[in-house]
């Protein structure tokens, strides 16, 4: 018998109804279809309000969909939510726990909720404290932990039942870059060492690129594109933006042909190019301009911003 995919969703729709007596209906998902094979890291990339949290919450059985179907590890999330909860766990960047409990107590309580008994539970809690480097803070009340520690605790909590599918909603939101790097390394290690399938949402292009085998772009409750980071970048011309002011504005035409340059255009006296990787391509680009005798007056490199990507995609 072949293993069912980790996630299989078909035409999923969800709207939120609120307000009384006058009802407001806010669509969050407008027919989403995709599947996630086992053992991969799969990223859902999208701007604020795209429907990322809604989608992940349906898969984690916190929300009921309006229409369409969602199966997780072969179980229907509406008809067999209990089965899903046994084998899945979820953590989010904005997780909160009871203020006066310590990380050790919080992990112990969630391991109990998962039905982990006796000695196995004690061993697992201690192992998680080590895995996420929480041991030094195991006795500190939750309200006194730093944001980075809280995030790591949320990740540890999501591992108490040794889930086959781990759902992470913006796991590095609001963290310092160095803390984010550590969390990403831990996420990558989970897949590598335990084979856990990981489904995560983010609005950082870099994060998706670095971690994920596959990415979907979600906006306004619809999937706009899907693929691995490289093919997506090529297809939708998303990479680092290099913005130049040249002595001879007409010289930009030549840059287009250089390897790694995905797009180039001249706007308002600036030349705007998109390259797949600025660190790799910038030396070539500058050498080329230098050899052609074109002086560079100004140069700026920026990471791709998601809105720009979506504007590109929405065309």
């Amino acid at each position: 018998m072949g293993l069912s995919p980790a996630v299989e969703i078909h035409d999923l729709e969800k709207s939120f109804r609120s307000g009384w007596p006058r009802r407001r209906v806010q669509p969050a998902l407008r027919g989403v279809t995709f599947s996630v094979p086992r053992g991969v890291i799969f990223a859902i990339l999208g701007p604020n309000g795209a429907g990322k949290t809604t989608l992940l919450s349906i898969l984690a059985t916190l929300l009921l969909p309006d229409r369409g179907s969602a199966r997780v590890l072969g179980h229907d999330v509406v008809r067999e939510p209990h089965r899903v909860r046994e084998r899945v766990n979820m953590s989010s960047g904005n997780a909160n726990f009871l203020w006066s409990l310590t990380p050790r107590e919080i992990l112990d309580i969630f391991a109990r909720l998962a039905g982990v008994t006796g000695r196995v539970r004690r061993v697992r809690v201690e192992a998680l404290l080590d895995l996420l480097e929480l041991r030094g803070h195991a006795e500190v009340p939750y309200s006194e932990l730093s944001t980075g520690l809280k995030q790591r605790l949320a990740l540890a909590k999501a591992l108490v039942n040794e889930p086959e599918l781990l759902i992470l909603d913006e796991p590095t939101v609001g963290l310092d870059p160095d803390v984010s790097v550590r969390i990403r390394a831990q996420i990558a290690a989970l897949r590598r060492e335990r084979g856990t399938t990981i489904l995560l949402s983010t609005h950082y292009m870099r994060e998706a690129e670095e971690l994920a085998d596959e990415i979907v772009f979600l906006r306004d409750g619809r999937i706009l594109a899907r693929g691995d980071a490289d093919s997506l970048k090529r297809r939708i011309k998303v990479g680092d933006a290099v913005s130049l002011v040249l002595a001879d504005p007409a010289a930009w035409e030549r840059l287009r042909a250089l390897p790694g340059v995905l797009a180039c255009a001249s706007r308002d006296g600036r030349v705007e190019c998109v390259v797949d990787d600025a660190r790799k391509r910038l030396p070539d680009l500058l050498r080329h301009l230098h050899e052609a005798g074109v002086e560079v007056h100004d140069l700026r490199v920026t990471e791709p911003d998601l809105e720009a990507v979506f504007l590109e995609l929405a065309r």
Binding site: A95, L98, L113, A114, V116, R121, N161
Partner: protein
Amino acid sequence: MTGTAAREWTKVSAFIRKNWLMARRNIFTVFEVVFWPTVGVLSVGLLTRFLDLTPETTAFILIGTLALSIIQVCQLDVAYAILFEMWAKGIKHQFLAPIGLWHLALGSWLMGILRGLAVFALLAGLGWWGFGFDFFHPGPAALVAFLLGLFLNAVIIGLGVCTLLLLFGLRAEVSAWSAVSLILLLAGIYYPVSLLPPPVAAVAAAIPLTYFLDAFRAHYGFAPVFEAALLKGFATSLVYLALTYGALGAALTHARRRGTLLRLSE
């Protein structure tokens, strides 16, 4: 214990452990378990002195006060299963876990029973010491039946409060503190239900606590108003327990549809 039984019990124990740890570190525990019950019994007891009540009417009123204090502290524990999580803005995690509502209800109720018994011990001591009143007079069987009745009323109220919390969020928080006052008015805590006007008396007859008070007070010389009061008390309790448990399940489904669990977690 078999593996399955051990796992189920472990899930129940999560709620006991959580409320226990929170109670231990929460200054309000002292107020809930010691201060308010003591104030209640002393003020009511002294009032009976001032009014020069007979020992029988004093007994009547002290039993009412004891019942109210025990129900309040026990129902709070059940409500806390949801309320603490709402205050912490982290309720979704609890419902991500593979638990049934019965784990939540049973675990937090057991902790409530523990705190309720502590209140009973305190008030029984105070009643004896301050007013020469003996809560053990009816004998162990009657006392156990009475306490069990109180705890059943408490879990019913607690589950009702949880239902309101899931439906209306923290706007319903006030119900956790005031539901018991309504019972106070209707179930004849400080007066016989026969004093109530007929339509209200009918409502009182629908409240299980009324029967448990009636049965317990009979041991102190009050002619019972109801026949087979204990039986009626347990029967109505089970009906309400089933109803509130069902309502809580429906409220949770509603919350999953509306996105309340998410909204209350951010």
